[in-house]
């Protein structure tokens, strides 16, 4: 007897259409369909457009560097720019961002220099930017763990009566992890000023969402925790920005957390070492390429007369500068001091580590002497 998984499964209710303000064709959605969210101003949209174009240029450049073998690993966010940029654009300077390994373009948009973003992918050090200056936690690799850190930080801010909000980014697969559920629950119980932004790019490495969970949308889960949840078109930056900004305001005014699901698609492989042809077909990818977040906004801005040739030229120039800076930082030989290995393990120095450090120093000195000879 064989168990037919398909037939024993409870049929899932069809998901509702995601909330959007600008449709695939670049037209503004009718007011009656926008759930009360308003289209951002032309000025805001132009700025979001600029940031998306720059972010994509960076992403494409870094992927090229991996193809040239100059970088070991890079998880691309190509196609996910609307989610990434909205996450950053709605935060104040005092707010904190808790990103994952995929969210390098969010870092870029928040002002981290390419060389500092790439420090970890180049292998210089695990993480390479100024966390306090940018108010960005180190990019988390163990899935969903950073969501709890965001809840803790936001709660501490609340205890100190600061207006700080924490926004954390999660993938769809990460929402199956216990830590995601613990974070949603803690945040709701503690009314923490947190925004959870799930980028549903429909795959966790090779596993599609319908093997990850059995409910309609990730946003629906919010009901179970007692917080608002929104299912948003993750390729519509206008909607992502409007909803995420509202969630940040909601948190800042003491009303607690929000769960947002941005429905998007991972155009590139999981990372450059992955082979997506084993688990998805090219036709699907083409459908999603056709829903490109940048092209959609571009069509809208052009039809509104809000994107001039001068704008395009300056955006292109800025994007090329970022790409050049990205390439340039690969040619600078990073100075990594092996003795620094021992420097940041403890605040309080340990004699045993000092011994190991001295032993390595001696080895290095011997190597140098034999090299001279």
């Amino acid at each position: 007897m064989s168990l037919n998984v398909e037939s024993t499964r409870i049929p899932t209710v069809l998901a509702p259409p995601p909330l959007r303000l600008i449709d695939d064709a670049g037209h503004a959605v009718d007011d009656s369909q926008t759930g009360g969210f308003e289209l951002p101003s032309h000025e805001t949209l132009l700025s979001l457009y600029r940031q998306m174009v720059i972010a994509r240029r960076f992403d494409v450049q870094v992927t090229a560097l991996t193809r040239q073998g100059r970088l070991a690993t890079y998880p691309s966010a190509l196609g996910q720019e609307a989610c990434e940029i909205a996450a950053v654009a709605c935060l104040d300077g005092g707010d904190w961002l808790f990103p994952t390994y995929r969210d390098s373009i969010a870092l870029l948009t928040r002002g981290v220099k390419p060389e500092n973003i790439l420090a970890s992918f180049r292998g210089d050090w695990h993480s390479g930017y100024d966390y306090h200056e940018h108010r960005i936690a180190p990019q988390a690799t163990p899935l969903a763990t950073q969501a709890l850190h965001a809840v803790g930080l936001a709660t501490a801010a609340k205890l100190k009566r600061d207006s700080t909000v924490a926004l954390t980014l999660l993938g769809d697969g990460a929402t199956s992890e216990g830590d995601a559920h613990e974070a949603f629950n803690f945040a709701a119980v503690w009314q923490a000023p947190v925004v959870f932004l799930v980028q549903n790019n429909q795959f966790a490495i090779s596993v599609p969402l319908d093997k990850q969970m059995a409910c309609r949308t990730i946003a629906d889960k919010a009901i179970g925790y007692g917080m608002p949840g929104y299912f948003v078109d993750g390729n519509d930056v206008a909607a992502m920005f409007a909803v995420t900004s509202a969630a940040v305001d909601h948190a800042r005014s003491g009303k607690g957390p929000t769960l947002i699901e941005g429905l998007t698609y991972r155009i590139e492989a999981h990372t450059n070492s992955d082979d997506p042809s084993r688990y998805r077909n090219a036709a699907d990818v083409d459908v999603w390429r056709g829903r490109d977040p940048i092209e959609r906004l571009e069509k809208f801005l052009v039809s509104e007369g809000a994107l001039s040739e001068a704008d395009r030229a300056s955006i292109t120039e800025e994007a090329e500068d970022v790409a050049a800076a990205t390439r340039a930082c690969m040619t600078v030989k990073a100075v990594v001091d092996p003795l620094e290995l021992f420097d940041h393990v403890y605040a309080n120095p340990r004699p045993a580590l000092a011994e190991q450090r001295a032993a390595l120093a001696e080895e290095l000195a011997d190597d140098e002497m034999s090299a001279e000879r």
Partner: protein, 336 residues
């Protein structure tokens, strides 16, 4: 012996259990430093299942002492975020084996954050773990998890064995800029001492000689210090002079104090409740042998729990290292 913490008024001597000494340490730290916050399962109005946090909720209120949802990874993970925002969280893992859901947060983040960020983010978190057996607990309530933590770089792991150390070491742990796994031996919670608080004993990261001797060194920590001291008394009656060292700090390991004793006696046995294979005693034996081989008159012994899951209450007396078992083990060394 004990000295005063400079600048703190001495209170009148009182009889304190280890649990009440720990309670006083948290209270004093919270009075002194408004960034110290306490949370965990049942630590609020109930005061913790062992009453270590008794009265703190009433005294400091919900913003500083709170019952968290029942989720250990969540407790440690949120403590990380709080520490990133300038707090000093003290969190409780209700029982040893219930710290395992938090394993990832402790090992992947608490231990590594300073290193990952080149010292830019530090996590002054104390994770209190009531541990070990001998209280007739049901399964999952008597584990000794120290080897998991001590083999993780970035963590400081300590275990007091008496009320004075409990107070002093917890104060130091809360003040430390490094995260500390603070392992509280459950079977010693009700041990008593006459103390005038605040007391400051030896530095948290050092071992102390709990009893002088010349023939054998017993290394113990937490729950087994009492066992080792009882062994020394029995040994003395048989004409054997046993030195007992209370390690107090498992990571870092106090090489100097322990090696000095080894070089005096030439014979060392490590006593712990945790299973032997791959356990903490194995590290101690290897480390001491590497450094002191020519001072050893006999191989270093381990008297530990068996390599089995912690047994149910009716059988734990057969599992735990006892003075008789320790004496029997060391009598098998060749003495000449």
């Amino acid at each position: 012996m004990t000295t005063l913490i400079p600048g703190m008024a001495t209170r009148t001597p009182e009889t304190l259990t280890m649990a009440s000494a720990l309670n006083a340490a948290i209270r004093d730290a919270m009075v002194e430093d408004p960034t110290v916050v306490l949370f965990g399962e049942d630590v609020g109005p109930l005061g913790g299942v062992f009453r270590v946090t008794d009265g703190l909720y009433a005294e400091f209120g919900e913003t500083r002492v709170s019952d968290s949802p029942l989720a250990e990874s969540g407790i440690v993970g949120t403590a990380i975020g709080m520490a990133m925002y300038g707090m000093r969280p003290v969190v409780e893992m209700q029982f040893d084996a219930f710290s395992y859901p938090a394993f990832q947060q402790i090992v992947s983040h608490v231990a590594k954050m300073r290193n990952r960020t080149r010292g830019k983010i530090q996590l002054p978190i104390v994770i209190r773990i009531p541990y070990a057996g001998d209280i007739g607990g049901v399964e999952h309530h008597s584990d000794s998890s120290e080897a998991y933590w001590t083999s993780t770089p970035g963590l400081t792991v300590v275990s007091p064995s008496n009320p004075a150390d409990a107070y002093s070491m917890l104060r130091e742990a809360i003040a430390s800029d490094d995260p500390v796994i603070f392992m509280e031996p459950k079977s010693r919670y009700w041990s008593k001492a006459e103390l005038s608080l605040p007391v400051q004993t030896a530095p948290m990261t050092s071992a102390v000689v709990a009893r002088d001797g010349t023939d054998v060194t017993l290394l113990a920590y937490g729950p087994t210090v009492k066992t080792a001291l009882a062994t020394a008394v029995l040994g003395a009656a048989e004409g054997l002079s046993i030195e007992v060292i209370d390690l107090r700090s498992l990571s870092p390991f106090d090489d100097a104090t322990v090696s000095a004793s080894l070089r005096k006696t030439g014979r060392v046995a490590v006593v712990h409740e945790a299973a032997q294979f791959g356990g903490y005693g194995a590290e101690v034996a290897a480390r001491l042998t590497e450094r002191n081989f020519f001072y050893l008159a006999a191989p270093i012994l381990r008297i530990t729990g068996f390599d089995i899951p912690y047994p149910s209450p009716k059988l734990e007396e057969y599992f735990l290292p006892t003075p008789d078992r320790i004496l029997a083990a060391i009598s098998r060394w060749e003495w000449n």
